[in-house]
């Protein structure tokens, strides 16, 4: 596999805001500690089954864990759980749908401004809200699930292989949308992927997830 190009090193910025993982451990993994400033994206890679997805689930607080996560200095444990998960939105690798049509899965529907805009950029026509979920392809499901999570305006995005079912052109579109959101809204992003070239494109830093530690593979401007 071609090694990701290392960007020119720059000194670590000092920050007190953003997402902090503090000695986070779960299911025998960890403790993991990590700081991600606002507007930055960190890539996570590693062997299959090592615990990348579980790490995202622990940050989203849907599995039991020790240690804590902090958003702008406020501990996850002091948030109301639904409020935390709206603010720290995880997009799982495989999406689930429970209504027959697409639209009811979106709290505000699919007609409103930004959602409409993202859907258009991702190649969906205006009538996508009326589509039957059972007829969606895996790529369509993946893109719609991403927009569904973006629609609540999260401060942190936890993306688990968000482009695994997409063609190259659409991969770039999604990367661009996520990059724009991170920059314009100062959204923090944790992006899990096996594609190191992709991580080199989207993330300022890349860590290899191992059972007991996060090993820095690429250091960019954070």
């Amino acid at each position: 596999m071609k090694e990701a190009p290392l960007p020119s090193p720059c000194p670590d910025a000092e920050y007190s805001e953003g997402l902090r993982l503090s000695s986070l451990s779960f299911l025998g993994n960890g403790p993991y500690s990590l700081d991600i400033p606002p507007g930055k994206c960190v890539g996570l890679t590693g062997l299959s089954g090592v615990g990348k997805t579980q790490l995202l689930r622990a940050v989203a607080d849907v599995i039991v864990h020790e240690g804590d996560c902090f958003l702008d200095g406020i501990a996850c444990s002091s948030f109301d759980p639904p409020a935390w998960r709206k603010t720290v939105a995880m997009v799982p690798a495989e999406s689930c749908w429970w209504y027959d049509l697409v639209s009811p899965h979106f709290e505000q529907g699919v007609e409103q401004g930004e959602v409409r805009e993202w859907l258009e950029k991702m190649g969906f026509p205006p009538d996508v809200g009326g589509w039957q979920v059972s007829r969606l392809s895996s790529g369509e499901r993946q893109r719609l699930a991403l927009v569904r999570s973006l629609s609540s305006g999260p401060r942190v995005l936890l993306l688990d292989e968000p482009t695994s079912a997409l063609d190259r052109k659409m991969v770039r579109v999604v990367e661009e949308i996520i990059g724009d959101i991170c920059r314009s809204r100062q959204t923090v992003c944790l992006w899990v992927s096996h594609d190191r070239e992709q991580l080199a494109r989207v993330a300022g830093r890349i860590y290899r997830v191992e059972e007991q530690a996060l090993v820095e593979e690429m250091k960019g401007c954070m």
Binding site: A60, V62, V64, S77, C96
Partner: protein, 266 residues
Amino acid sequence: MHVISLSAFDLGIAALLLVLLAGTSLRIGLGLEKSMLISGVRMTVQLLLIGLVLKVLFARPSLWMVLGMATIMLLVAGYEVWARQKRKLTGATGYLISTGSMLISSFTITLLALTVMVGVDPWYTPQYAIPLLGMLLGNTMNGVALASDRLTTEMYTHRSMVEQRLLLGQSWQEASGDIRRDCMRTGMIPIINSMAAAGVVSLPGMMTGQILGGSSPLDAVKYQILIMFLIAAGTGFGVLSAIWLISRHLFDERQRLVLDELTTVK
């Protein structure tokens, strides 16, 4: 009217039908023959025993004996509800929830019926208290068992969907709402069907028994209407409380779905 007494031979012929069904089950590979025969034997022994116990109880009515008997019935019903679930809550919690929801529904409603509606004196008169409680427990047990079993199975099967909904910022009540409502329907449909079909498709057991025992059909019908309402209310409240209590235990204080609270199926 004189009641025709059934001989052991009559019952034996009826039992042969069950044996025939078990043989069919064996032949077509249903795998139900063993539980069918065990349940049949169990039912016969239990009913013969209760016949003897009731004979003693009716001869010397006592509050403590009625309460003791009712407690045993409740504990067994709670166990049956718990045991019929494919995926059970681990530890004593599952049994306590099953028994608790039977207590809430059947016991309180039987007490209400005995003191307010039937108005029998004393209220614990075993001829009324035991059959009423028995019918309520028997019917609510089915509803609660069906609903509880479906809830734990559905939560396990659809765990990814529930988690996805939690990830979108839904509360545990919202994330599990559709499943819980489906399970409540499952638990209540049998009694709703029974009420809808009573008198047209089927003549319910209690009424049939009273008519066979010589009561006037109108008296039998009134008792049957009473018992149907009581069973419907008991089943409904039993199902609601069981579903709520089990669901609450499947989510921890951080509203995470914790399926390790359920036994595994091998």
